[in-house]
Amino acid sequence: MPATYYQRSGLRRYFQETGEVWLFARRFFKEALHRPFEGKELLRQCFIVGNQSLFLVGMTGLIMGLVLTLQTRPTMEDFGAEAYMPAMVGVSIIREIGPVVIALICAGKIGSSIGAELGSMKVTEQIAAMEVSGTNPFKYLVVTRILATTLMVPLLVIFGDAIALFGSFLVEHMKGDVSFRLFFNKVFRQLGFGDLIPATAKTFFFGFAIGLIGCFKGYTSKKGTAGVGRAANTAVVVASMLLFVLDFIAVLVADIFFDL
């Protein structure tokens, strides 16, 4: 029987994979809510996801703040509105740029490392060995990693936002002689809970998505060592795409509830 367009185009594979991700997520919630809890492994994963990403997130945040301010300031000066720079940069970073850029960095670093790690364990049959030894590999490997990314990515975003604002302050201080107190006074005067809460809430979903896609791609990788690279690659690509979709949904929901 010749393959139909539906089978050839990969659309079927897309729907199949979406269904598999859904089932994978359902299994995660089921396993996460039942004992035993792998606390130590969770902490270890949190350390790997959180602390070991700090430098990268910090550097990204600092450069993001510096560049955003340097790029925007001349335009604001043309309008004679450089006094609004702290407010504008603050809102931009807290609402959108900070969460999305840092989540993308995390998707690149953490998503790929999870995909590659679990993929290599899968192809080297370490996961199968764990099952044989009576350890629940899903609970030990997947649940801890997804929980770690879900909890750590928001903290990394907060950390990155703070450093980005500091970077912005450095430029404002150098170019406009704005004091530290005045800068942050202006930032927080402009910000409201409608900016902070939805932006922070969506980072939990970003973290969950990064962990889920990374684990799914690694846990379900096939075709030997080539599959490991493929798993790492697709984990980053799919997670990044999913981040933008989630961001769009989050903005829509926030607009309804917080009247942005």
């Binding site: 902490l43 270890r44 949190c46 350390f47 959180g50 602390n51 700090l54 309008f79 509105a81 609004y84 807290i94 928001p154 903290l155 990394l156 907060i158 950390f159 936002d161 703070a162 942050f184 927080f188 005067r189 910000l191 409201g192 809970f193 409608g194 900016d195 902070l196 922070t200 009247d259």
Partner: protein, 342 residues
């Protein structure tokens, strides 16, 4: 194992720092929205809120003292704006304070401005509805600006004409600018003014000194200025002088009349003397006609001679027997009259 513990500590530090940053952000945002601390809720009614939104700032004398809590449409022309203010500013906001809607700069967000009321009114209380003032609409503002621009264009045209005339040397200002002698005169006038001012200063100092002396001494001026009895006495004296003047008036009038009569007599005398001088009339003739004078002198000589002869005749007659008795009798009576009356 030790390595794992150290990792866990590092993780703890990271989590604590991130959570602390989040709490700091929540605190600062919350304090900007007056979520912490005691609040005072007041409202104000407007016909148009110009895009004001919940969360916008409320300013009192330019200081952020609260936020707009909610905006309620009461009817087709009335909007009630509920505000949440910092309780600490309650003593400063009076009941007659006026709320108006403004914006934070040209491109800034909208806000509510509370202008201070009078100090006599009591302080605003929870739930009070403040008096509002509707600001000028942007369209109205632009219309006014348009009119102002037209006026400015007219004024600038006039100015251009004036400056052109000045450039051509017409008019007093051009003369002032171009004429060096006028400038010199002006300079001289200024010098004179300066000198006058100097003199005035000296005079002022002297006056001040004089006044100090007047104030310090007990002379007439001091009494005039400070002693009320002197003024009363003066008033009384003036009243008396008035009375005297009233009484003297008829006398003066009579004097005047006499003077007029004298003047008339003088005129008559003058005329008479003039006539005399011209030799008119018998007296004039006497004074001026020498022939007449000679005649009169001759007459007088004749009269004198006649009188002498008459005396001689009379003496002769006394010795006449006819009249002797009469004369004796007369002498006798004369003697008796002289002795009887001591």
């Amino acid at each position: 194992m030790a390595h794992k513990t150290e990792d866990t500590v590092k993780l703890g530090i990271f989590i604590t720092t991130a959570v602390a940053l989040f709490i700091v952000a929540v605190y600062f945002i919350g304090s900007e929205e007056n979520m912490f601390g005691a609040n005072l809720r007041v409202s104000s009614i407007f016909s148009n809120v110009n895009g004001l939104q919940p969360g916008n700032n409320v300013r009192y004398s330019g200081i952020n003292v609260g936020t707009v809590e909610r905006i309620v449409l009461l009817n087709d022309t009335t909007v009630q704006v509920h505000m949440k203010l910092d309780k600490n500013v309650q003593p400063f906001i009076k009941k007659d304070a006026v709320a108006s809607i403004g914006s934070d700069g040209l491109v800034g967000s909208m806000l509510v401005n509370i202008s201070p009321g009078k100090g006599t009114a009591g302080m605003v209380e929870e739930g009070d509805v403040m008096v509002s003032y509707s600001r000028v609409e942007t369209e109205e503002l632009l219309n006014t600006l348009g009119k102002t621009n037209e006026n400015i264009a007219l004024i600038s045209n006039d100015l251009l004409r004036i400056t052109n005339q000045m450039a051509k040397g017409k008019g007093a200002i051009a003369l002032l600018l171009r004429d060096t002698s006028l400038a010199a005169s002006l300079r001289q006038a200024v010098f004179n003014l300066e000198a006058t001012a100097g003199h005035l200063a000296v005079t002022g100092a002297e006056l001040q000194k004089l006044m100090a002396e007047v104030n310090g001494s007990s002379g007439l001026l001091h009494q005039l200025l400070h002693d009320t009895t002197v003024v009363a006495n003066l008033n009384s004296s003036i009243a008396r002088v008035d009375t005297l003047a009233a009484r003297a008036e008829p006398f003066i009038r009579e004097l005047q009349s006499s003077a007029e009569s004298l003047s008339a007599s003088g005129a008559t005398l003058e005329r008479l003397l003039e006539e005399l001088d011209r030799g008119r009339g018998p007296a004039g003739l006497l004074l001026k006609d020498s022939a007449a004078a000679e005649d009169i002198r001759q007459i007088l000589e004749n009269v004198e001679q006649s009188t002498a002869r008459f005396n001689e005749n009379m003496e002769a007659m006394r010795h006449n027997f006819l009249f002797r008795k009469y004369f004796k009798k007369k002498e006798k009576e004369k003697e008796e009259g002289g002795g009887g009356a001591p």
